[in-house]
Structures are given as C-alpha cells and as structure tokens.
Symmetry: C2
C-alpha cells in the first residue's frame, strides 16, 4: 500500500506550523473588535456557602463599567452535559471555590478587575463536603439539595456469573487504589468573545473542542434556539478534554454583550483556569481479581466511588468508561462493577485525556502486576496469555476488528529488557526496576445508539484549489493536517493546494467534536469519503474532456492522465478553469455524512460501540533513590497500535505528549485541597514536569490496518497517556518491592513506604 | 396552484426589512476593524494625458500616512471582463477624468485626503477622443495605442436575406437615434475593505453583484490565485449593474493592506462615484425598417456605434444585446446588424439595468411607432399583429416557452385609453398624448455554451431551523426574501424559520451573480431544487419515525403529518432534535448545482440562451407645455409578464423602481461632458427624479407560468425600465406631432423642436 501513497504515513509538517511559529496564528485573546468590552467574574472564595446578599452598586458606579450582572439578571436555565445542574451565575448558594457569583463588563481589563473588588457579597458558611465516602452518609451536607446522599449517578454492570467464577478460582486477590485531580494546563487559557449581530443572532468566538455541542449548551443556558447562535473557533492552544464542554463564562459573556450592546471578551487568567478548569475525575477503586495457577485471568469485581465535584459535566460518562473499558483488555470470563459518582464541594471534574479509562488502567494494570509477583508469575507472560485478539467478541460485546496488543507487549518488553541498566548502584541506595503496562481505548464512542459520525464537505475552486470543511476541532493535535493529507491522498493533489477551513457552526458540517480519540478515525473517514465523491465528479468530467473512459484515467500530482500514457492529460487546475464556466463541470463539491458501522449499546451498555479499538503497552525503567524516595523515570518505550500512520509527526507528537502528561500525572501534578479550598492556584504551586525531567522515549508504532478507519487508521490521542502511570508503579515495585496504590507517587510517599517496609510493616 | 401555496404570490415583507429600517443592517462603511486605515485615490484631472512624473515624497512625509503607492508599486497585470485593458493604477498615461494614478492609506480619512493633495504629478496633455465617429477616423488620437481606430469590438450579425426582403417591402424607413450616459446613483456608494489574514489569504468585504466573478478579477489584477481570496458581502445599497464587476479600488486596497499590514477601507465619495461609476453605454443607432401595407414587420437593419469610454468592462456584452435582442420582440423575417464599440476618453461604460437592450428598445420602439403614424397605421395594432407568441422559434434561435406580450399590450393600451385626459388645455398650450412601447428581455443569459446556472445549499439545524446558502447577491431587490419564500414553500415551514446566509466566496455555493434578471429564475430554481432534496431526506426519516410510507405523509407549517389524519405527526423541530443524535437523521443537508435546460449559442450567436424570456408593455400619458417644452408624465401603466409572482411586494417594487429610473433616464438624468471633462460631478448638478415628479403608476402583472422557472417565475429586475423611454417619446409625438430621437428629452430640446416645427422646418 505504502508505495502507492504520497502523503499517508509520511512525516508531514503541520500545515499551520508556519503561522504558529511565526506568531501569526490568531488565538482567542488576539481577537479584538471595535468597542469591545472586557469581562471579569466574581468567584466564590468559599467551598460551600449560602449567599445572603450581593451589593453591586459600588462596582456599577466605577467609571468605565458598562454592566454588572448577577443571577437575577440572567436566565435561570440549568445546563450541563448529561445532568443539568448548573446556572450561569450562582443562585442562593455557592458550591465550590471558584463558583461564579457576579460578572461585569468594562472598558478595560484593569477597570473590570478593579470593579470586581467593589462587589460586596455576604455569605453564610455551610458544612463542606470534601470526602466522597463521607458525602454518601445520611448526615452529610448536600451539595445539591435535591440529590440524596450526594450520589449523582450510579452504574451496576455485570457480565456472566462473577460469584460462581470467583468460587472456582485458584487465587482471589483484593486491593484498593485511588487517583487524584490533575489539571490540563494547556498552553492557552480558555475564553470567549460574544457579539450580538444586527439581525438578532449571537456570535461566540471560542476554542471549544466540540463546537456544536457547545452551541447547544449555550443555547440551553440562554434559553434560545441553537441555530440563533454561531460558534466560531480561532486557533486553539490545547484542551485535553477540559475544553470539550462550555464553561459558565460562555453564556455569561453573551448576557453581558446583550446588556451592553457591545462585543465582550473574557479570557481566564492562569489562576482562574486553575480554579475552574475541568480536572480528571478522582476515584477510589476497590478491585477483586480471580486467577488460575496458570495465569488465566478469570473474573474481576470493581467498586468505584468517584469524586464528581460541585457540578456534573462529563463525569457520569467518565465513570461509565472507568467502570467498563478495562474489562475488555483481557479475556475475562465475568466481571461486575458497582460505580458511584458523588457530589463534593470541590472543583467540578470532567473528561481528561483517557476519560476515566486511564484511572482504571492505573488500578487494574498495577493490580495484575502485583498479584502475579505475589504468586511468582511473570506479569508480562500473564498479560500475553490473556490479551484480547483480533476477531474476539469481548464480554461487553465489542467486536475486535484489529488488535496489536500482543505485538505491543512483545516489543515494549523486548526494548525495555534490552536497554535496562544494572538493578543497583551506590551500594544499594539507587535501585532500578522495569515495568510493563498495557492499554486499550476507543476511536469514537457511540453513546447508546446515538450518532457517532462526522460530516465533511469538500469543494474545489475554479483554480483547482481544494477547501476541506469539517466540524471537528484542531486543538493543536494536527487534525487539520491529517484531513489535508487524507484529501490530498484521495484526490491525488499537492497538499499545498488544500485549505482546511476554520470552524464555524453556521458552515462547518456537523461533527460531534474532538474527544474519544475520534477525529482521525471518524472525522478523517468523512473527509476520505467526501474526497472520494469529489474525485468521482472530477474523473467523470475529465473523462468527457479527455475522451477516455474514467477507469482508464488516473490522477496524480494534480494532473489527470491516461493510465497507459501519462503524457496525455490535463491538470486539475485547467480542468476546473474550463469547468467552472461550462455546463458539465459545476464547482466540484461533495457533502458527506458518515456514521461508523457499529451497532452501539443496549440498556445494559452491552454492544460494539467504537469504530476501532486501540491497544498499546508501555515499558518503563525507573530508578528510586531509597534515601529520599525520589523516583526518576530513566526511559520509556511506548508501543502503540495506531492501525495505520497518517502523519508520523502527529503520532510521535501524541506519544511524546501523552507520555509526558502521563509521567506528570503519576509523579508531579496534584491539585491539593484543604477543607475544600484549593491550595494549587497557579503554576507556581502546581508542579508540571519540565523538559529536564523528561526521560528518553522510544516510540514503537504497530500498524494493524484497521478495516474501518481511513487508510486503516485508528485514534492515538488519548492512548499514549493511559499505560504510563501503572508502568511506572510496576517498575517501582520491581525496583524496591513496594507497591504504591495511590497517585501521585511523590517522593514523600515513597520515602515513608520504604521506611514502613524497613520497619517490617509491609 | 395558489390554494396550495402559502408563500408564493403573497405580499411578503422583505425578511431583512426590520434590520434595514431600524438602521441595524451593516453596510460596507459601517464595518470597522482595529487598526484599520483609510485609503484615498489620486485621480486624473485630464481626459487624456501622458504622465511625465509623480512625486509622492511630500505625501509620504505627512504624519499618519502609512503607505503611498503608484503603478510601480503594484502588479502590472491587466484585468477587465472580456477585454483586459486596465491596470489598477495608470502606467504612463491617463485616459479619462477619474483615472487612478496613485493611492495611499492613512490613519484617518482627513489625513488621507490632505496627503492626496500633496502628490505632485506632471502631465503632457494629449488630444482628447470624445466623439465615437471621429474616434474611428485614421487621424484620431488612440486611447489605447494597440487598438486601431479605437474600435474595441465589432459584431456583424445577419439572419436570412435582408437585402432581398427590403426590396420587396411596401415601405422602407430609415432614421437615427441616440442615447446618453446616465449613472446608477444607487443609495450606497461603492467601496471595499481589504485585510490580509495571518495564513496569507486575502479577505475583501465589498458589495459586489457578482462575488465570484469579482474574486477572479481581483486575483487577476493581483496576480494571485482566486482561491487565496475570500470576498464577503455586507448589506448592499443597490447596484443596477455598476457593481457587477470590480473597480480599480478593489486591487488597490488589497495592495495598500499588504504594504501596511493593516485592514484598509476605501469608500467612494458621491463625487468620486460620479467620476468612476459604470454608466450606461451610449450608442448612436441607425435603423432601417421594412414593412408591408398591412403592418407586417418584415426586416430590420441596424448600425450601431457605441461609446465604450476609456476602458472596457461589460460594454462588449452590452453591445451584443443591443445588436440582437429586439430582433426577437416581433416576428421579423430577416435582420442585419453592424455594431461597433469605440474607445473614447470618457468615463468607462458598462452594464446598467437593461444592459444594452433598453437603448435599442428606445430606438426601435420609437421608430416603429413613428413609421406607423407616418403611413396611417395604429402602432398598437401593428405591434399586436407582429408580437412573438409562445411556441415561436425566433430568428436568433430563441425558444419561446412562455409569452405574455400580447396580453401586456392589450392591458396597457386598455388602461391608458380608459384613463386619458382631454388632448388639449389652456387654449392649446398644454397638449396631451398617449404612447405604448413593448419590451422583451431574458432571465439569465448563457454566454456561448458556458455555465448559466446557480448552486444552492440548504441545511437544517438541530432545532429544525433552515439555513439557505446561495451565491447570488441581494442588492436590495429582495433576493433573500424570494429564496426564503421558495425554501419555506417547498419545505412546508414557516418563513420565520429560514435564514438566508450572507455571501462569502469561501462558503456560498458558486453563483454567477446578480445580473441578466437571473436571480429569481436561476438562483431561485437552485434553491427550489435544494429544498426539494432536503425535503426528501426529511420525509424519508419521518417515514421511519412515524412508521408510514413517505407518500402517505405531508409537511405543512413545519409539521410532518399523516395525510389521512393530520392529528398524527411530528414537528420538524422534534424530528431534527431526535435526528441529530440518531444514526438515521444526519443533519439534513443538500447541495445542488442547477443549469437551465438551454443549449446556448453558436459562433454566430444563434441559439436559445435564456431560461425564460420576459415581456411587457408600458402605456404612458404625457402632457407637454408647448410654451416651455416641459414634458410631464401624467400616468404610466406597466404591464409585465413575470411568469409567476413569487413576492408581490418585490414585483411591485421592481415596477415602481424601474419606471422611476426609466423616466429619469428619459427626461432628467444626463452625464454632461465638455472637451472630455465631466460637468456632472455630484448630485447637485446631476438631476435625479424626485418623488414630486413621480407619476401615478398602474401595475399590471401577467402570469404565464413559465415551464422552467421556479413555480413558473421569470425575471423582473430589468424589464420594468426598458419600455419607459420609447413609451414617453411615443406619447410626446402623439401630443405634439414631434419625434424626439435623442435622449434625454429635455425641455430645451422639446422647446427648440417645437420652434423648428412652427417655423416649418420639420
């Protein structure tokens, strides 16, 4: 296949790289409009409090302040993704530190900031709910008065007979794990500009991952019809899940723009981002595992209590993934999960790269490893023995159409074995170990039987240049480049002749957005099909012009030629120039809607629901300084089944980024709270991994040529982060014989664990 | 048919009326961008001169001036519509008063204006070419050195044997007519804002009638690919043909924006509009007419010498229409035309409502009338006798698929006869007369065998709201409303649920633009077909949801219902809401390209080339004050075959506007030149008819249900002006027995003609 392809699988520079590196690319904060005002939002300093009064009079009097709003000035509509539980400004009560209370628009940011300080709010403090287990007790305060026991959502999912299976297992293990809140810390803080048009329509510029779903939410909050709103996306500086859904500021700026009859801009400061981002859902996970002596994994039981935070965004969906997805990594015979999502007075959580799957992978991949070690089995052999394979129908009903799991494990293990350093140094102070962890994930995710597809439009202009329209966002990951490559490849034109159009809900074909690692596989497939349809139009017209049957013509490098004699032909440019003014040619245009051939799931969540399932394995070597507890990752090998590489630069970028974010999650990053109050309120006290901490990364790409994805491609956005944490934890046990079950694995935690072990406690 | 239709044929308020009357609609000059600069252009004060030197240094030194450009700073590419003969700034020579020499961009309009005065140009004056007949002589100066005898274009078209036919006619008449330059005087002066985007693309906001053709011309001038340019249209305040094609300022602002790296705005002052608009092509027409005693019109010969002005825009096409179109108004057996288009050092002419056809109608409809009077025949009876009829194949190959000419003549004549006043008053000082003139025109105009169609896209959003995309411009005539009506009618939804999207060449489906009275007939048909395609998608999905065959369902008022029981059904809104998230429904979207079923013309211009031909007749009663020569139009009846009314408000508006503009052309408006220098340089010395001069207008609409147009509709944009001038001239002869053959018919001209007649000269 490769020999026929010009763009697929190559190292393609991102098509917007030049704009970005020259600083020309316009991000939201670069956007300015005549008469534009600047918004600021007053946020709660308390995790849980009743609002007794709000006095905005002093703020209103400050010269340059154009409007001050509180909940009484706004529609009281609740919005949210699955559960509508939030209003744009707090009514009666605040539920976390950062909760929006009042907002204003002023002539400058400085005035707005000054004015915010003049708003006087009187509170009655309430009991703070900050522990999920306590939150579920009858005596707990309620975050939302109508939600009993603070339980937002629960799932009870079982396949086959777990109890019977446990009873016949050679070994049954039980343990508990937990993961914590981390922040996306994308380069570009989130924001929006709102402007009401003369015809009564609202335009919102914002860097959402999912423009159409965002538009719906904004409409719901404002109580207007979605089609009255145009959401447009400038360049976006990352999102990692925290920009899939809207924030309160989206409807807030719309209300301010309406009140002031002016465009209003709002961009979060880094501190506000830290207060109001959408961190990873933090669960406590109890696992029970049933195995046979020969290493066969038989059954698994999980109990999850996850911290939702104060309002519910994607957390219910995240919990569902957490509850189910790893069950399909190995050939379990039976599983049972009871999962609870609990409101607390902490920052609302949501989907974050891995979307729940990463949390459960940490638990399960850690647990299997430690269980194997306990009974003297090689964890790698156990994983190989139980790994799912192509052709499997998993216990949740997934149909595995391509699977490189075994190959990923093999290659990761081989690499890490061959490159490992001696196990000890400095008389045993430095200890080294290796660990392997596996992963599975999706490429698109059909909710029930809902649409999981994407649309694309391709239009060729009269100079032969190609415009590609998609509704899927490029957060910086390179979606535009992948779409351009696919279109160039199918159409047989130079990628420089392709423009991928910016996102605009009025114009962009409907797409669900950038999440579930779906953009290349599903969005790319729509582009692939649209390009194929346009190519057909081109070839039909070329066949008339060249007087040669279509099937005797080829298109290459923007020129349609006789198959048997490439000297005879016509360039696409010339064909279009002649075409646009003739009756046959029409502007070549195709509009396609594509939905992958999966059935979706039934009421018990059983069914094949992703276009393609992805697999990978990370191998890690760490060294632990037993005197300080400091863990250093020496090297990582990241082996991933991507189906087929579209852009090698993109795949390697995802691997580097995912691994870095994975190490950060495991060892460095932590949103710390005390009595419900966040202590990490900026990058000064929230530790991100820097280039100095970055280990050597070896990338291994496995191509399994998925039968559904475009050119065989599958998603690689989220997978690269998923196995990093358990691989590190496994390597730590290999080095020092200690299992750390709670993220993050800080030096302090390791230090005290070593101390405890030395004292014989463990 | 009418009973089944909700929107077709009704009096529909323009869908953008509210925005316009409340002043909210944004026209070009309302657009502002941060950092925007203002351009001014230095124009030639001489009709013909060599540029010896240009010194811009003082202008450059003025604080606030950001860039000054002359031809040497610009691409030297020639552009233009049929003949590329103009550069954006003059090289070596200026060819008319108003020709662009230098341009600059500054922080404010005031600074720009000040700076323009500081540019020092030295000229060598050249002989002025300002008379078409002298221009063709060998001794004439040449406007363009490479064009011999100043003849830009000539046509020699003959059908059958004219010479033989003249030899057997009972009567052969010869005479000469002429028409003059008039200006469109649309409400909104033309202008543009140019902005280079970060990705190297150019955006131009401008109110062009033909965005895609404009984009091509701008690209040609700049020497870049059309697809690198986005042309966007704000609201447009009229054009009448003068905004079909670009002006020099379009590429000029693009160059200024590039040099200054800032958005640059340029809007013509009314004085500059008068200098550089695109007035009506001014021809001298010699006619020879062969008739039989019974009134049969047998043959016709024309010689046209038309004044092109200094550069060629649509004038060649205008001349072709002038040369041919009236030949198909009556059943002539043979015709011959020799037509010449001649460069002069006057303002360049182009297409103006009627597009050449109005000029020849003045000549021919005046001539037939006066010939009939001379031989004692009733001109109305002669016209009725010779009028083309449905089913005719005309001598130029037109296939007449619908024709209301006879009915229009009958109704116009009956009305004007019944309402006429006494022939004389004040002892003969005031004399009254009536006149009738007919017209034909096109609805779209295929050039050769080129594309003459239009594209449309219709998209239904998830709240059931409908977006209509077309590439055809609404100049204020109501195209958006007509498209909305057609879509509402086909889809069975409320017109309030339809949004017609603004024009943008990146997004709008390809359309040729607003000219040739094609928008409703051709653009509307594309919308009609796209709506039909979307309706099919809706009904297919509704059939699944309602479990009822498609042909047993209807859609009405936005609700799909059982035909047999309208209580069972689902609203489109609900269907879309459910649809967008299900696998079946997809966002309902259709993209259509439509080209009317006409063959076009061969090398001799023979062939059927318009989707539909339109017909009409005006009846006029005038009174002439024989003491002053002043002509007053008392009443006009305008009978028009529109095929089928889409929007009655729109049709009546076109009739009122066309008649007013027709009277203005006939009696009031005149661009006067002296030695090549324009004397009419603003509305203070260019007389527009005002409301006080407006006669009573009776509108008669004839519906012939054209088989091709949407719902049977044909174009009505241009026709309404075409017969006004000859009808007035005919009424004047009826009143005072004097034939005025040269427009305009000023009081002075009538006064001297009366004098001459009294002295027995005539």
């Amino acid at each position: 296949m490769k020999n026929d392809c010009s763009y697929i699988g190559c190292k393609q520079d991102f098509i917007d790289a030049k704009e970005k590196v020259t600083g020309k690319a316009k991000y939201l904060d670069d956007m300015n409009f005549p008469g534009m005002l600047y918004a600021k939002i007053l946020r709660s300093p308390h995790p849980h409090a009743r609002i007794l009064s709000i006095d905005v009079s002093k703020a209103e009097e400050l010269p340059g302040v154009k409007a001050v709003i509180t909940a009484k000035d706004c529609p009281a509509n609740k919005f949210g993704m699955e559960i509508a539980d939030v209003t744009m400004l707090a009514i009666d009560k605040v539920r976390y530190v950062g909760d929006e209370i009042a907002a204003l628009a002023a002539d400058s940011e400085e005035i707005a900031e000054e004015a915010i300080k003049l708003i006087d709010v009187k509170y009655e403090l309430l009991n703070v709910v900050d522990d999920v287990e306590k939150a579920m007790l009858p005596e707990s305060a309620l975050v939302h008065e109508n939600i009993k026991n603070n339980i937002v959502k629960e799932y009870h999912i079982s396949r086959d007979n777990v109890d019977e299976d446990f009873s016949r297992c050679d070994y049954v293990f039980e343990s508990e794990f937990s993961t914590h809140r981390v922040s996306g810390c994308y380069m570009e803080p989130f924001g929006a500009v709102a402007k009401w048009e003369e015809n009564g329509r609202l335009t919102i510029w914002t860097g959402l991952q999912s423009l159409f779903q965002g538009r719906n939410e904004i409409a719901k909050a404002l109580g207007i019809e979605p089609s009255r709103i145009t959401v447009k996306s400038p360049f976006i500086g990352g999102g990692f899940g925290a920009k899939i859904w809207i924030r309160n500021f989206h409807p807030i700026v719309a209300v301010l723009a309406q009140k002031t009859n002016a465009p209003v801009k709002y961009v979060l400061t880094r501190e506000e981002e830290m207060l109001t981002t959408r961190p990873r859902v933090a669960p406590k996970i109890k696992l029970k595992l049933g195995m046979m002596k020969d290493g066969t994994l038989v059954c698994k039981e999980s109990k999850i209590i996850a911290d939702n935070g104060a309002y519910s965004w994607a957390a219910p969906k995240v919990l569902l993934n957490m509850a189910m997805r790893t069950d399909c990594l190995y050939r379990f015979k039976s599983t049972r999960t009871d999962a609870y999502l609990v409101y607390t007075n902490l920052i609302p959580t949501s989907g974050f790269r891995g979307y729940g799957n990463s949390q459960m992978h940490f638990a399960l991949e850690s647990f299997i490893d430690t269980c194997c070690r306990r009974i003297g089995l090689d964890p790698v052999k156990v994983k190989l023995k139980n790994a799912v394979q192509r052709g499997d129908l998993t216990l949740h009903g997934w149909k595995i159409k391509s699977c490189g799991l075994t190959e990923c494990i093999d290659k990761a293990y081989k690499y890490i074995q061959e490159n490992r350093l001696p196990k000890e140094e400095q008389n045993g102070r430095i200890k080294r170990g290796i660990g392997i962890a596996c992963m599975n994930h999706v490429s698109g995710n059909r909710g029930g039987t809902k649409f999981d597809g994407s649309s694309a439009m391709i239009r060729i202009h009269e100079d032969g240049k190609v415009f590609v329209f998609s509704g899927e966002a490029d957060m910086g990951q390179g979606a535009k480049t992948v779409f351009a490559q696919i279109a160039a490849e199918v159409l047989g034109v130079d990628i420089a002749d392709i423009t991928v159009m910016p996102l605009d809900t009025d114009i962009s074909p409907f797409g669900l957005g950038t999440y579930s690692s779906r953009v290349t596989t599903v969005g790319g497939k729509a582009v692939y099909l649209a390009a194929g349809k346009v190519k057909k139009q081109i070839m039909e017209y070329a066949s008339k012009v060249l007087e040669k049957p279509e099937d005797k013509l080829i298109i290459k490098n923007g020129r349609i030629m006789f198959m048997e004699d490439e000297n005879i032909g016509i360039t696409l440019k010339k064909l279009c120039e002649s075409g646009i003014r003739t009756r046959d040619a029409i502007p070549f245009t195709a509009y396609i809607t594509y939905d992958p051939p999966t059935e979706g799931t039934d009421a018990s969540f059983y069914g094949d629901y992703s276009s393609a399932y992805t697999y990978g394995a990370h191998g890690v070597e760490v060294e632990v300084d037993t005197m300080t507890g400091k863990v250093k990752v020496l090297r990582i090998v990241a082996a991933h089944d991507v189906g087929k590489i579209i852009n090698k630069n993109g795949v390697l970028g995802q691997i580097n980024g995912g691994v870095a974010q994975g190490i950060g999650w495991t060892l460095y990053e932590n949103m710390v709270f005390q009595d419900g109050k966040p202590l990490s309120n900026g990058l000064k006290n929230y530790i991100l991994m820097t280039i100095k901490d970055m280990p050597e990364i070896a990338s291994v790409v496995v191509e399994t040529n998925d039968p559904i994805g475009p050119f065989g491609a599958k998603g690689i956005g989220e997978p690269t982060l998923i196995p990093t944490a358990p691989a590190i934890a496994n390597a730590i046990e290999d080095a020092i014989g200690i299992r750390i079950k709670d993220l993050p694995i800080t030096s302090e935690k390791v230090f005290w664990a070593i101390k405890e072990k030395e004292e014989g406690g463990r």
